[in-house]
Symmetry: C2
Subunit: 335 residues, 2 copies
Amino acid sequence: MKFSEIGEFGFIESIKKECIASLKDVIKGIGDDCAVFGPYSGRVLLFTTDMLIEDIHFLMDKITPYQLGWKAIAVNLSDIAAMGGRPLFILLSLGIPVEMNVELIQDIYKGMKDICEHYTVNVLGGDTVASPDKLIINISLIGDAKEKEVIYRSGARPGDKIYLTGNVGDSSAGLKILKTEISPPNSIGSHFIKVHNEPNPLIETGRIIATSGLAGAMIDLSDGLLSDLGHICKQSGVGATLFRSKIPLSSKLKLLASRVKFNPLDLALSGGEDYILLLTVPEAKTHDLELLFKDKRPSPLYLIGEIREKEGIGMVNDDGSTEEIGVKGFNHFIS
Amino acid sequence: MKFSEIGEFGFIESIKKECIASLKDVIKGIGDDCAVFGPYSGRVLLFTTDMLIEDIHFLMDKITPYQLGWKAIAVNLSDIAAMGGRPLFILLSLGIPVEMNVELIQDIYKGMKDICEHYTVNVLGGDTVASPDKLIINISLIGDAKEKEVIYRSGARPGDKIYLTGNVGDSSAGLKILKTEISPPNSIGSHFIKVHNEPNPLIETGRIIATSGLAGAMIDLSDGLLSDLGHICKQSGVGATLFRSKIPLSSKLKLLASRVKFNPLDLALSGGEDYILLLTVPEAKTHDLELLFKDKRPSPLYLIGEIREKEGIGMVNDDGSTEEIGVKGFNHFIS
């Protein structure tokens, strides 16, 4: 059987059960945004990694080198944000085509350096190697949090409300524009491209949620709303209902959709790389959460649905009817 | 300028000064086998990463999938051994060609799992992605040690004795056989291929040295004896003298060299991937070190030279004369 036939999730499933040699100090292994271990001096460490390969995860002519460096770090920071942690240390592996210009690599590194400075993260080293043809970037990131602050995917319970901390779909629209699947005027398109190429990880938002102790489960949207909500449901052993009219779409996305004729909700549900947070909150705590966001304003906050006992994801239409929908996520691995 | 013109070390040099945003908790950044941070509960954490790319670092027809998995982890464990640490947690990024057989990937994973079990290291997760054509493996490894146990490259002082914990050159001979640069009978060749493809990281040896407090500086031999000794010299601001007759060569290497006519000392000095430890020890402590190795027998121990004030590396010939030699290391990046 070929790798393309089982894909990432199938492969991970096949190795998952065998990977822990000793449970000592392991709080969370495979199955969340970060692995968690410790505690050390009352804090736990969060550990995450991402590999980005040219022509699979990025195209050199669709993103500037500076943006590529920024984004490579941003998507990892977002995994720390998703668990409520504080990012600390990075190791950076670069596989560099021998013919690549050093200036271009330095621009990539400038983007990395700037985002690291912005979030006070240290690059402690890494590995720089030659690559036969493609540029390869692997980031390993360590963060920390107090043990009881960490928010896992597995903490959603029936009745919990589901919130998003921003709009969904803009990044995915940016990708469609970059791939020239849609071709709006530049004046409209540049916003989406910027959202797609320069994501801002919601570290502060994640920290505010984590220290409040109000959330049951949390994840960052990288695969797409339905897919990532599906991860929460699977890890928590629950299902979810979304309210169609409550899915937050930017006015720009609605405008774009009206111009180039597509359904913005499709991008919002199944596009990816929004890098906002999805969290679940027990009903008794929703008032406190909404007050907290009104007070601190780290991000917008949108109530979009609720956790239910029944597995799967249902969508409540505007007429009050509910339809069950499949989990159509953003999958890099099936082209 | 192209990457191939400045190489790994040039690139690292160019980014090194800019990579620390805040010194808090950073004990060692770029410039040693691992980064070091903490302390947490009296212990520091060691953090290292390595990227291996098909056709650059390995050829699929020269190593079995099982060996590849084993070796990918082993070279990282060796970095922890080099600082006297205890390996703990791994994140594994795999870039897998979509056409690759799942069974082959599972064999790679089996090799990884076995070495992790052997050294009680946990794979906590990672990232599995599609790759356009080459197999890519990135390992990120966290270990720990008591803060005062950690042995850096920078601790060598003039007068210190230099020791090796094993023979040098066998791995490099294995590579030459695999590349058919030399073609001995199979009965002789298989030993070298095994040494090259299935290295055993000297975790226990490193721990015994670290807990003894006897070593000034330590490194694992991955780039080659001269190159790695050069790293110690550079980080410590010193030079070194080696005794030609004391460089430990296996009897098998001497036999091979006599059969196929090459100078085994060349491989021993400039070959790479021996994955043994090189350490420096103040003269007053050498007796204790030798006793310790006689008692615990974690590895052989060979006295090969001494640290001197004058920069560079000198070689004392059998007739007592000394010649200065260049640092010719094993460099993956200039083909």
